[in-house]
């Protein structure tokens, strides 16, 4: 446990907050790079497990930063991490809310959405790959990840069912 780590972690998240496109999951490869590869505050498997737990818990995805932060920085990190991740973008959105006049179907919105979508797709898929590597379960792990990916993309199974299936596979293998 290293409460000092709360501050550099929060500072990193605050920077990501401003450039975040596509939500928390698109930011995970960079958070992984910072927390696991660069600082070694968590192991890859631990990181991947905590992301999994965050998906099984009720709440916005960004709260994964609290779960990660708690493991190496304690309660302080669990609180300052999500605040740092949410606050900068929130201030920008708040400022926008004051400027904003109802825009209807303004063409800039179509351009912005279409232009940013490929970036989000690339980063979210990258996130899945980084986490599958982090899970560290070898070929079996990749097979579970691939099966869950296909099931979640092409069936209507609830995410919790798929996480449960993963848990069962982990227990048995």
């Amino acid at each position: 446990m290293n409460p000092e780590a709360a501050w550099p972690f929060a500072a990193h998240l605050a920077v990501l907050s401003i450039v975040s496109v596509g939500g928390a999951h698109a930011m995970l490869p960079d958070i992984y790079r910072f927390v696991v590869t660069e600082h070694g505050w968590l192991g890859g498997q631990e990181f991947a497990t905590l992301v999994a737990l965050s998906q099984a818990a009720p709440g916005p995805n960004v709260l994964v930063t609290a779960l990660l932060g708690y493991q190496f920085g304690g309660l302080l990190a669990a609180i300052v991490a999500p605040v740092a991740f949410i606050l900068p973008s929130s201030i920008a959105v708040y400022a926008f809310a004051h400027l904003h006049v109802r825009s209807g179907d303004a063409p800039w919105k179509r351009i912005a959405m279409q232009g940013l979508a490929p970036l989000t797709v690339g980063l979210v898929i990258a996130s899945g790959i980084v986490l599958a590597q982090g899970a560290g379960a070898g070929v079996a792990g990749y097979a579970v990840a691939a099966a869950v990916a296909l099931a979640s993309a092409f069936t209507r199974l609830h995410p919790l069912v798929l996480i449960g299936a993963g848990a069962a596979a982990g227990f048995l293998l």
Partner: protein, 187 residues
């Protein structure tokens, strides 16, 4: 900010307290993404917005930086109750689930070293990676059917997985290219 409120809506119904409570329900209901619950609460339960207004707010929330649902909370809170409304909506959205997340973090710390549980955790970690991959696949199917879109997605994927480039540089480099392409070659 009050002049941004839709003219026909009676102002009495939407208080800071109802914003906080409404967004708390949204925050606590979502497993694997809160947006479907957001629509249910905001449009059907509370009647804060019409379907069309919700779609518009959501499209703006998606473009702006930050979590989509947090942006919806701020845009609605500001629209109905100004600064206090934004704070109430954001607090309602995040504080109750944060307490749950902290409880889970404490439990994990307590039990993470049990051997059979470790195997279970490896399994759910692989499953969680799969869930995120699946979401990426779904998003990929919805991409504009354009060469530039595929190229940008692959470039982002490559630099994030292989080259470990810090994300701000990736976004600063690729976002303008994507915007220019979307402007020049609309889908």
């Amino acid at each position: 900010m009050e002049n941004a409120a839709p003219a026909l809506r009676p102002p009495r119904a939407i208080t800071c307290r109802s914003l906080a409570w409404g967004f708390a329900r949204i925050g606590l209901s979502g497993i694997g993404g809160v947006l479907p619950y957001a629509h249910h609460t905001i449009v059907e339960d509370e009647g804060w917005l019409t379907d069309r207004e919700f779609t518009e707010v959501l499209s703006i929330a998606q473009i702006l930086p930050g979590p989509n649902i947090a942006n919806v909370a701020i845009l609605l809170g500001t629209r109905f109750r100004g600064t206090a409304g934004a704070a109430a909506a954001l607090g309602g959205l995040f504080v109750p689930p944060l307490l749950i997340f902290i409880a889970i973090a404490m439990l994990y710390r307590q039990f993470a070293d049990i051997a059979w549980l470790k195997r279970v955790f490896v399994g759910i970690a692989a499953a969680a990676a799969g869930l995120i991959l699946g979401m990426g696949l779904k998003l990929a199917v919805a991409l504009p059917r354009k060469l530039w879109a595929v190229a940008i997605a692959l470039a982002a994927l490559g630099v994030a997985v292989v080259m470990h480039v810090p994300l701000p540089w990736v976004v600063l480099a690729l976002a303008p290219v994507g915007l220019a392409c979307a402007w020049k070659w609309p889908a």
